[in-house]
Symmetry: C2
Subunit: 465 residues, 2 copies
């Protein structure tokens, strides 16, 4: 085939210049056009193929940039010897994504929620109404997130969690990890971050990715010790005081007060309070947010809807202390919000019109029933007397300790043999040798009530020795 | 009022413990409870108020943490002298958000799109269908973005832009700025970034926020000069080769080839190709993406839907070269995608089912008509002979140069006097003294066709001297 007879197909999706480029490339590669050969002039080829000179020019230019043709001034385009081409890098095998876990009857990795409880009707109705009635939301919005959502959130957090903050302090972002990255941009580059040990590995990864140094501080008496924190030399501590992840403990009042004093003892110290799972407290006294007790603006409060609504709804929030606001406004003056405005307003109305509280009440009851049944059924199994239940007052998972001598790996392996995937507590330790013996996490929130007994029985079978 | 007679109101949204906390706090602050006074025991108060001991305990604990009460072991809670409280920091006036621009009849800041053209019906229908038919999308998705969207994007970019990449290389994120932050996490901390001068200030801010150093390289002959780039010592260059922002020029083929050679000349060099506004090319030859000519995996290709669909749809994408994938997978293994999965799948189907191309064709035609009319009408005004039109082949704004002696500030001020808000070209220079005289940007894509003549006349009046 000569390139003067290339068939350009108007039905194909590729534009003509690209089809022509491909045809010539093929000719060069299969030897139909030899090195040194001169190509038809752009005008000639354009006339023969009934396309514009621009189309031919585009194809020739692409091939020239890629090194297949050489443009000689005023005399035209020549085929380059293939050997003189920049050698293409070996087609490296692409890094494969991590292999999916083999499927299990019960996937009880911590953190799953029951998506059947998602309020499809309400969410869809609000979402349509926002889209049709507020088309102006297609334009750029406030970089911090739209005011309506920030106002609704402030009201809700004040009432439910005792958080004191004004909408101006609130930043909406596409997930906690993004907000932690943004926060890192506001703190000095040499800031040392203290993280809980065991703790939330996503947060540690986000902080590390931002180039900040980390120190892990072993939990003591249900929370981070202000004394160890002081000794660590950290300037900033990331905490989950209402419901520690993954142990489920709550930081006691005295300890909370000491942490606030630690922050007050030197300028530039901050506590990042991740109010993780505070929505799902089933028993014990309610624990207001640490932020509400902060009188000096040293607590950065944050939370997310990924567990209270759904993991794939990427909306989280950060309440910045006033001292960090001017820098935030400067550094993020040009950055757009990371959350679609339609979703922001759908969520804003969901909160404002009371649907969020109703949804929380419904799911809290649902999860509490599952928790109660799971605990009850676990106790009744043959392994029951050796199963100790920890961290059950709140959250979407139990911490189970086995006292019959099985080690963590054995617990996990035997559970998997019975069709139950769990996570060992040691996975949440930076230094796994610090992990106590024989503790595993069991998420239950997404397991339907009628399947809970089978789950408990499977674990009972697995752990009976 | 004694606190034994506090009225707790079941109708109020705040929980009892919080109402009780507020009531006691008020009593302390107005002197109803004096320093040193002992509070009723928890049991007594609980009985009198018909609430649980836990409720009273919560209120007492909050007040203790905040320093209003002191807990004496076994003997109860005492009011602290107010003077001994940690002095609350002065209520600092919160940093006010930037004042909105005064409104104008024509707001022609560059970058606005016509949101009336948004395909409400289709988008809403796809979005509902995704939500109802794929409830499993509520769970966590792939951190890189869901495969379906990455596949649809790869196919589209290959056909429309000549981009060669596999879905495994594609990363979906909530906006270009987020993706640039993520990308910075993959490059060494001491990487020096070269940016175009003039250039895109959002990108510079995102890179600077990530703690990376910047150098601005003056444009030369329509693009970044590989020679100046080499001299700068940068390892990474951020480019808009298809349609330079804000000048609208296209990097010529020879220059593109030199830039690729620059990247190939040392290990660890990268070109970040922001394929900004490539969707809106009205005339001249189509310019394929630089990435398609890259044989060594040194071009990082990125784009966004914020102009081709709507600014508030926060979806952008990055095609990583294979060499950066292993590090990306390690660093972001635990990070969730920043885009809601419902939106990812809505967009995926929008592309896959051909709606995106139709939408682009429709808006391209719409914007082209507006561009043609605006140019025509500007020429006809009294200032017409002195208005030079630049960067008109693509994009959503014109670059206007005035040759009658008015300076940029005068052009802007006089335009504002006639109800037209524009942006001066110097605003996009890191060093505004380098800006050429008398250039301003005029976005037109969002101005309805029938209003274009009035816009042109207003500018004509403004710039006639």
């Amino acid at each position: 085939m000569s390139i003067l007879t290339v068939r350009l197909d108007p039905e194909r999706k590729q534009p003509y210049y690209f089809q022509l480029y491909q045809a010539i490339l093929q000719e060069i590669q299969n030897g139909g056009l030899a090195a040194g050969e001169k190509l038809p002039s752009k005008r000639t080829l354009a006339q023969r193929l009934s396309v514009s000179v621009n189309t031919v020019d585009s194809a020739y230019q692409m091939l020239t940039v890629e090194g297949y043709l050489r443009a000689a001034d005023r005399s035209g385009f020549y085929v380059q010897p293939l050997a003189r081409l920049t050698p293409p890098a070996e087609e490296e095998p692409l890094c494969p994504p991590p292999a999916p876990q083999p499927s299990c009857e019960f996937n009880c990795a911590a953190g799953s929620v029951d998506t059947d409880a998602f309020p499809f009707e309400t969410w869809s109705r609000l979402s349509r109404s926002v889209m049709y009635r507020q088309p102006q939301l297609l334009h750029h919005g406030d970089p911090q997130g739209d005011l309506e959502l920030r106002q609704a959130l402030c009201r809700y957090l004040r009432q439910a969690r005792g958080v004191r903050c004004r909408p101006e302090q609130m930043i909406i972002g596409a997930g906690m990890e993004y907000l932690l990255m943004a926060l890192c941009c506001l703190l000095p580059e040499d800031t040392l971050f203290a993280m809980e040990e065991p703790g939330y590995p996503k947060a540690a990864q986000a902080v590390r990715n931002s180039g900040r140094r980390l120190v892990h501080i072993p939990l003591e008496g249900g929370g981070m010790s202000a004394e160890l924190l002081e000794q660590s030399g950290a300037q900033c501590a990331y905490l989950t005081p209402s419901h520690q992840f993954p142990t489920g403990s709550a930081t006691p009042a005295g300890r909370r007060s000491q942490l606030l004093q630690w922050a007050a003892a030197a300028p530039g110290r901050y506590l990042i309070e991740d109010d993780y799972d505070s929505e799902f407290r089933y028993s014990g006294r309610p624990i207001p947010a640490l932020q509400g007790a902060d009188r000096r603006g040293q607590v950065i409060y944050c939370g997310t809807f990924s567990r209270s609504i759904a993991p794939s709804i990427r909306i989280a929030y950060l309440a910045l202390p006033p001292s960090l606001l001017p820098l935030y406004r400067r550094r993020f003056s040009l950055q757009s919000s990371t959350v679609s405005r339609f979703e922001q307003h759908t969520l804003g109305r969901f909160i404002q019109e009371g649907f969020y509280e109703r949804h929380l009440n419904r799911t809290r009851n649902l999860y509490k029933k599952r928790r109660d049944l799971l605990i009850d059924q676990l106790k009744q199994t043959a392994a029951g007397p050796w199963i100790e239940i920890l961290g059950a007052e709140a959250g979407l998972h139990l911490l189970l300790r086995l006292t019959n001598g099985l080690r963590e790996e054995e617990m996990l392996e035997r559970a998997r043999g019975q069709g139950v995937a769990l996570t060992g507590l040691s996975a949440y330790y930076q230094d796994p040798t610090l992990a106590p013996e024989a503790h595993v996490l069991c998420g239950y929130a997404h397991i339907p009530q009628q399947k809970i007994p089978a789950l408990a029985q499977a674990l009972g079978r697995a752990w009976t020795i």
